[in-house]
């Protein structure tokens, strides 16, 4: 960054007493300080920010690029729950990827779907230790919306090998009353506490909803930033987008990125 034309000179309140005269020095200093701020902020000719910071972690705060999706078989259908399927579930059914895909659950208290992050070779306990920054997201709809008076809730987030209890600060809650007949994307970012077991993604209904909800295209990525939904890098079920649920707007800029609902984790 080019140095400002004038260095910043602090002016104390005492310099501007009610009975003090406005001296040349005071007014010049004030004027030069304004020039200093302007020089620091942007290029007057182009209106482009002047400091060419690129958030590399050294000249400015690091922007953590989202990692690949840490959930394998993250597009939910009978294809991702088929041979070798690692989703565990209770009162949930998976649709066909060409039709009404997604995991249907909701009318039974405690219905859930759950899956370990990545695979069984990875001891996530050791990976995380002092805390991992995850961004957790999923697409959700309710084909027959229950409307504003609905009381059901969908909890989703990170657990330590539990299908009922979430890690502290790693749970998002979606109110049934917010759901519509078309997919919306919900997400939150969290920092895990120290855990002693494998990390899992869990989506669980409690209390029960009035009619089935559908969950699809879940994602857990490292870092605090939401990214586009993608399958895991080497997903055995979705290699190069193979067998992806076809009715999820995962490339829709508005639904997938700009109009997503950010939740406060608890």
């Amino acid at each position: 960054m080019t140095a400002p034309r004038y260095p910043w000179i602090a002016q104390a309140d005492a310099d501007f007493g009610a009975d003090d005269s406005l001296t040349e020095l005071k007014i010049r200093t004030l004027n030069h300080n304004l020039d200093h701020v302007q020089d620091s902020l942007y290029d007057r000719a182009t209106h482009i920010p002047k400091r060419l910071h690129d958030h590399d972690g050294i000249n400015s705060a690091l922007i953590q690029m989202p990692s690949p999706n840490l959930v394998e078989r993250a597009s939910l259908s009978t294809e991702s729950d088929g041979l070798g399927g690692e989703w565990s579930k209770f009162n949930a059914t998976f649709g066909t990827y060409t039709g009404d895909a997604g995991a249907a659950l909701g009318t039974v208290e405690g219905a859930y779907i759950s899956k370990p992050l990545m695979n069984a070779d990875l001891n996530t306990d050791e990976c995380i230790r002092t805390g991992a920054r995850f961004t957790v997201s999923m697409f959700v709809k309710q084909p027959t919306p229950a409307g504003p008076g609905a009381t059901g809730k969908i909890n989703f987030g990170i657990t330590d090998n539990s299908v009922s209890t979430f890690l502290t600060g790693c749970k998002g809650v979606i109110l049934e009353s917010l759901l519509t007949a078309t997919y919306q994307r919900f997400y939150f970012s969290c920092l895990t506490p120290d855990i002693s077991d494998r990390a899992y993604f869990l989506a669980r209904v409690t209390p029960a909803c009035g009619s089935d909800i559908r969950i699809d295209c879940v994602s857990v990525t490292l870092g605090p930033v939401l990214g586009w939904w993608h399958p895991a890098d080497y997903d055995p079920a979705h290699y190069l987008y193979k067998l992806i649920s076809q009715n999820v707007p995962c490339w829709d800029y508005a639904i997938g990125m700009t109009d997503v609902t950010r939740l406060v984790p608890s």
């Binding site: 004027n31 304004l34 302007q38 953590q64 990692s67 990875l122 990976c127 995380i128």
Partner: protein, 274 residues
């Protein structure tokens, strides 16, 4: 960016000379200068930044997203080293452990090294990637590795050191400005992450990552999860895409804190590039 409602008014020192009366326009000019700057900084209605820059390289500096890891077989354990075919070239005395135990490659004799070409390849002539063509006049890269000592029992007589970085056509010398040093005293019995930022110059041979013991130590130093990415920013360790050994984290050394934000990102130790 929308032009501010208050254009910038430049006031010269000559307009602010002692002995001259303060003209009525001066306070307003200063007020307008403040309004101008405020409009640049933020939208007073929404309290958001008024300059909607997104670092696309035009409205503000381009953010160079790190590339994927350029090293195949980058979790160092018996699944990637020591069983015949390997992406890594190792001096024989380098030993390893299983991924589900401690994992890692153990180096403690001066001259021991591990080398692998960036981008993989068939290893027939070190690499399929013609680096001189690929890099042209040079590329910025970030090189990182996790390291610890296997044991600290007893004060060692010989406290070793590890060098890591980029080499081109050599397992002896690093490219200028592309080597980092880790001293024994920097290490603990749990992994820390070390990294450096460098720019390789014009090269005529394929480029690879070299990890080398430069000073003998009594107890082994354990190296794991190296990474080389294009760009200038450190990022989380991930296997190289399509890395068959480590597809979706298969056979990754389980005791490396690769998802630990503090150890891997915020408290990672940047070492000078020599």
């Amino acid at each position: 960016m929308t032009a501010p409602a208050f254009p910038w008014i430049q006031l010269t020192d000559g307009e602010l000379t002692s002995g001259m009366p303060i003209p009525g326009t001066l306070p307003m000019a200063i007020r307008n200068r403040l309004e101008h700057l405020r409009e640049i900084v933020y939208d007073p209605d929404t309290m958001t930044a008024a300059v909607a820059h997104d670092h696309d390289g035009v409205n503000s500096g381009l953010i160079w997203w790190p590339s994927p890891n350029l090293i195949p077989g980058a979790s160092l354990n018996r699944s990637t080293l020591g069983f015949g075919q390997s992406d890594w070239e190792a001096k024989n005395s380098v030993t390893t452990d299983q991924y589900s135990l401690t994992g890692g490659a153990f180096l403690n004799a001066e001259g021991e090294y591990l080398y692998t070409a960036l981008g993989g390849g068939d290893n027939s002539s070190r690499d399929d990637l013609q680096s001189d063509e690929a890099f042209g006049g040079g590329a910025p890269m970030v090189v990182s590795i996790y390291a610890k000592v296997k044991s600290t029992a007893g004060p060692p007589i010989n406290e070793g050191a590890i060098a890591f970085g980029l080499a081109s056509g050599s397992t002896a010398d690093f490219l200028p400005g592309c080597k980092g040093l880790i001293d024994w005293t920097d290490l603990a019995t749990t992994h820390k992450r070390f990294w450096l930022r460098c720019k390789i110059g014009d090269v005529s041979d394929p480029v690879g990552m070299l990890i080398k013991c430069t000073e003998k130590s009594d107890a082994p130093m354990v190296l794991d999860c190296p990474m080389v990415t294009l760009g200038t920013s450190l990022s989380y360790w991930m296997p190289m895409p399509n890395d068959d050994t480590h597809r979706n984290m298969l056979k990754v050394s389980t005791f490396v804190p690769i998802w630990d934000e503090m150890k891997s990102i915020t408290s990672a130790i940047r070492v000078p590039a020599r």
